[in-house]
């Protein structure tokens, strides 16, 4: 049968697969068909592994017929092109990694695979996850499904556009400073950035190691909970993954907010914020109050320093993390070099885009002898203060409600020539990465032009149960209005 996937969630799909309403092959084929039809406009995918995906789907159907119990058995997923899936490309949307095939599975991928997930295709992104619009991809410009002239956000713009635009039931993304939550908000899907250490980073091509985290783009909070519980948990291969027990998140969702205290950080409701965004978020806050939550004002006094702190730490780490892309062992090597150092220069000059070069240069500078204390060390101190801000706030409330970004999606090209302006758009999201806490973006409305707006719910470290609970209750109450 033809499977309608336009609004299909992973949870719905699993019910229907289990009930025999459609097969994994049919479902996977439907997603492939949707990509064929829509992707020429959306440009969400960099590559689609059709044959392998259909073969895996057929295996999943057989497994299900013989009693297979995988929690994601036969569900096709899209994966941001920064996560390693054995045998698939992993270009990070960079010319430098064109033609690279990954020799191994990331731990998160291996865990999803063990539950029967099918890895269908690779989604577009800002090169090496550096950017907020997906304009920094070396290969194509992903468009916002809500308005094709608008950016989908970034850096996980391809994943967000695929999920919101009907080309994937769910997708994996990564979030270093908002790269899951902001595109989820711009495109209108649910974007979860878990606590640092919740999901192993092994196999995630590093941008900024102390900030990066794998997460999901889904069509429901329940799906986010389901993917999280499969991917989470300590991994021997990632020393920074934390050995904290993994609750059955999808079974602990709530429908009301009785007894929940929610904080509104005053520093996140600022002058110059887009009025439509503010209105949508304030309405969401009111709705949470209606659902029984107590709403209190809180303060995160060091928020003003977050952008500077973030761009020092992230670029410093990136300057070392990206040093390995030298053309020696893999990737595209520039021709005509006279010696190894010359080869590095030519390979990296030709292989990296402007934004990546800008950040490598910034990061190299802040770590240089004589500047380290003034930049990197100061940033680390400020990071500690920002983390302390959140710890204090979470003594007063269970979760925080904020906008995801000061604006809705903007036009393609609008900020492309003004990197600083673009960096400032990360002001509400980088703090969660600096503090290592969890956050989720849940659709909460739209502008008069129909551009989606997201509500950000921030929770303490390993407080995923709390933000998923709030997100689910809020989401369900919106559905009740439909």
């Amino acid at each position: 049968m033809a499977v309608a996937i336009e609004n299909l969630t992973v949870t719905d799909a699993l019910e229907k697969l289990n009930a025999g309403i459609f097969t994994s092959v049919e479902l996977t084929q439907a997603v492939i068909d949707a990509i064929r039809e829509k992707d020429p406009d959306l440009c969400a995918y960099l590559s689609v592994d059709t044959d392998q995906a259909l073969a895996r789907a057929a295996e999943a159907d057989q497994e299900r017929a013989s009693g297979g119990q995988g929690r994601l058995l036969g569900v096709p997923l899209a994966v941001k092109d920064v996560l390693n899936v054995k045998g698939q490309p992993c270009t990070c949307a960079s010319r430098l990694l064109r033609g690279y095939t990954s020799p191994y599975d990331a731990t998160a991928i291996a865990r999803l695979r063990a539950e029967g997930a099918v890895f269908l295709g690779r989604t577009n992104m800002d090169e090496f996850a550096m950017g907020s619009t997906t304009e920094n991809s070396a290969f194509k410009q992903t468009r916002n499904p809500a308005a094709l002239d608008y950016v989908p956000g970034g850096s996980s713009g391809g994943s967000a556009a695929a999920v919101a635009g009907g080309e994937a039931l769910a997708a994996l993304g990564t979030d270093t400073g908002g790269s899951i939550r902001q595109p989820a908000s711009f495109c209108g899907c649910v974007g979860l950035k878990p606590t640092y250490g919740r999901i192993s980073r092994y196999g995630l091509t590093a941008f900024a190691s102390s900030l990066d985290q794998i997460g999901s783009m889904t069509r429901s909070v329940r799906d986010a909970a389901l993917l999280l519980e499969v991917m989470s948990g300590h991994d021997r291969m990632d020393s920074t993954s934390v050995d904290v027990s993994v609750p059955a998140y999808s079974e602990k969702l709530r429908d009301d907010l009785q007894g929940v205290r929610l904080g509104l950080p005053k520093e996140y409701f600022i002058e110059g914020m887009d009025p439509a965004v503010e209105q949508a978020v304030r309405a969401a806050v009111a709705r949470c109050r209606d659902l029984g939550a107590e709403v209190v004002d809180v303060s995160l006094p060091h928020t003003d320093y977050a952008i500077a702190t973030y761009y020092i730490i992230a670029t410093a780490e990136a300057s070392a993390n990206l040093a390995r892309f030298d053309g020696v062992r893999y990737g595209t090597r520039a021709e005509g070099a006279t010696d190894p150092i010359d080869m590095y220069g030519k390979t990296r000059a030709a292989g990296f885009g402007d934004e990546v070069k800008r950040r490598i240069i910034l990061g190299t500078y802040v770590l240089s002898s004589g500047y380290y204390d003034a930049y990197y060390l100061s940033a680390q101190k400020m990071r500690t203060l920002i983390r302390a801000d959140f710890e204090k706030a979470f003594e007063e409330c269970d979760a925080l409600l904020t906008p995801v970004a000061p604006t809705p999606a903007y036009r393609i090209g609008e900020k492309a020539t003004d990197p600083l302006q673009m960096y400032l758009g990360d002001v509400f999201t980088v703090t969660a990465n600096l503090a290592g806490i969890c956050g989720i973006s849940v659709p909460c409305g739209a502008t008069s032009d129909g551009l989606p707006v997201g509500l950000q719910i921030l929770g303490p470290a390993f407080g995923e149960e709390s933000i998923l609970g709030v997100g689910h209750a809020f989401e369900q109450s919106l559905h009740g209005d439909d």
Binding site: C92, S102, L204, S210, S319, A320, R324
Partner: protein
């Protein structure tokens, strides 16, 4: 402190007057950074084998090749071995230690940064006491840290290749204070350090396989000057002999520069072992800015004091302490004790044999001469041969009791060395017991006298040397078993 006269060799400063009594004196100062490859089964941050000599690029994985997304995982054994080394030399063990990234681009560096330790090394301080032909050389240790080794570049006729098997092997870097003042000091220190590291079971210490490599900092300053001179660093030496020669050369070179009115340039130099000279690699202006920052992929190392204590309690006796104790306990000369204590397994063998014997000095002689010679000829370790300490003690007892002569004993030892077994049994089975039976020896003596009338005449004519010839004949006739002292006595009486 050792003062070096203005030692000038011809090619450096031609025409210098070596007999000038008013020559200025210079004090050389030397510090070492010694890299020791640790004895671990797997690499520092991944599960790949550290086996030496495998086909290129067979012990590799995404982690040690620096593939996108791969992450390091600490090898706990490497931490333990480094801490054990620190404990052996009296370092303070850091309760909190961490790893850092050291950035520079080079084809042998898979990630183009090395995971090392910058400001929080595992061990701080300590001291090594070395011996230069009876002179005590004391060298303070600044710090010991842990890092990963790089790959090996290989150059072919028209291309270069990289073997990543070695990339990520655990390396312990021991940094000394500038406490050495001659090539001999540096050599003695390295010998002592090698002994300590081998005793602690920390490294195989195989110099041919590059298990120990060092960077040498050398400066000289006039005796009258209190602050140190400008130093040059000589990189990546992998023999102790090379260090000795390079330090000697560098001291003379720097003195010659100063004598010629020049200034020593702060720079990195390389040692050419064929031409026996150092030459400039890069000056200070070209030094890398390593841009160290804390490795975000690893957690800090927080050591449990109870664990450190249990390592401390299980440490072996240090080689120098053992040498002193063996002199006291077995009454052997200090020189012997030094030779025996140089290797832990040799000292273990000696002590076991000496305890089973009434004659430790004879045991020591056997080990120092026959055994070490045969071991070195066969290129095997003492653990790999079948002879037991008890068998050596038994052999010494047979000689002491006059039951075999010393020539026979050597043959028996050779047999033990090859086949093992009980010397008593070997001697009996092969009928090697010394013949001290007068009748049997008399018969051989008579035969020798009758067969060699010329020698008998010579002896009677006053040529005492002829007796030795006749003794040799009797020994031959007895197939080496006759007691030579007895033979000489009997022959003399008969003639």
């Amino acid at each position: 402190m050792v003062m070096i006269e203005r030692v000038v060799t011809g090619p450096l400063v031609p025409g210098n007057d070596m007999t000038d009594d008013s020559a200025m004196k210079y004090v050389p100062t030397i510090g070492l950074e010694v890299h020791v490859q640790l004895r671990t089964a797997s690499k520092m941050f991944c599960a790949c084998s550290t086996e030496f000599g495998a086909e290129p690029n067979t012990h590799v994985c995404p982690v040690c090749l620096g593939y996108p997304g791969a992450m390091p995982v600490m090898n706990g054994r490497a931490i333990e071995l480094t801490v054990r080394t620190g404990l052996m030399i009296g370092s303070e063990i850091s309760g909190f230690s961490k790893f850092d990234r050291k950035s520079y681009f080079y084809p042998d560096m898979p990630k183009n940064y090395q995971i090392s330790q910058y400001d929080k090394p595992l061990c701080l301080g300590g001291e090594v006491e070395a011996d230069d032909e009876g002179r005590l050389v004391r060298v303070r240790i600044h710090r010991i840290h842990l890092e990963e080794d790089v790959a090996k570049n290989m150059h072919f006729q028209s291309a270069s290749g990289i073997d990543f098997n070695r990339a990520g092997t655990p390396l312990m870097e021991i940094v000394t204070e500038p406490d050495m003042h001659s090539a001999a000091d540096a050599y003695a220190f390295l010998q002592a350090l090698k002994q300590i590291v081998a005793y602690a079971g920390v490294s195989d210490c195989n110099l041919e396989e590059g298990n120990i490599r060092c960077d040498v900092n050398v400066s000289v300053c006039p005796e009258s000057q209190s602050e140190l001179g400008t130093k040059a660093e000589i990189k990546n030496m992998n023999t102790f002999k090379g260090v000795y020669s390079a330090v000697g050369y560098e001291i003379e070179r720097q003195i010659a520069v100063l004598e010629g009115g020049g200034r020593v340039v702060q720079e990195t130099r390389r040692w050419d072992p064929d031409r026996e000279v150092t030459s400039s690699m890069r000056t200070k202006e070209d030094e890398h800015d390593y841009r160290y920052f804390p490795e975000p992929d690893l957690m800090p190392v927080v050591l449990d004091p109870l664990q450190v204590n249990s390592w401390k309690e299980s440490l072996p006796e240090a080689p120098r302490a053992r040498r002193e104790r063996m002199v006291d306990a077995y009454g052997i000369p200090d020189y012997d004790a030094g030779v025996l204590a140089a290797e832990r397994s040799v000292a273990d063998f000696f002590e076991a044999a000496a305890k089973a014997s009434n004659n430790p000095k004879a045991v020591s002689n056997w080990i120092m001469t026959e055994m070490l010679r045969l071991l070195s000829e066969a290129n095997v370790s003492i653990e790999a041969i079948p002879v037991t300490p008890k068998a050596l003690a038994g052999l010494v007892a047979l000689v002491d009791a006059g039951r075999i002569n010393s020539n026979t004993a050597k043959d028996v030892f050779a047999e033990l060395f090859e086949q093992g077994g009980d010397p008593e049994v070997i001697v009996k089975e092969k009928g090697l017991l010394q013949v001290s039976d007068t009748d049997a020896i008399e018969a051989f003596a008579d035969q020798a006298i009758s067969e060699n009338p010329q020698s008998v005449d010579d002896y009677r004519g006053g040529k005492k040397a002829a007796l030795q010839f006749l003794v040799g004949q009797v020994m031959r006739l007895s197939r080496g078993k006759a007691n030579p002292q007895m033979v000489a006595k009997l022959l003399a009486e008969k003639m």
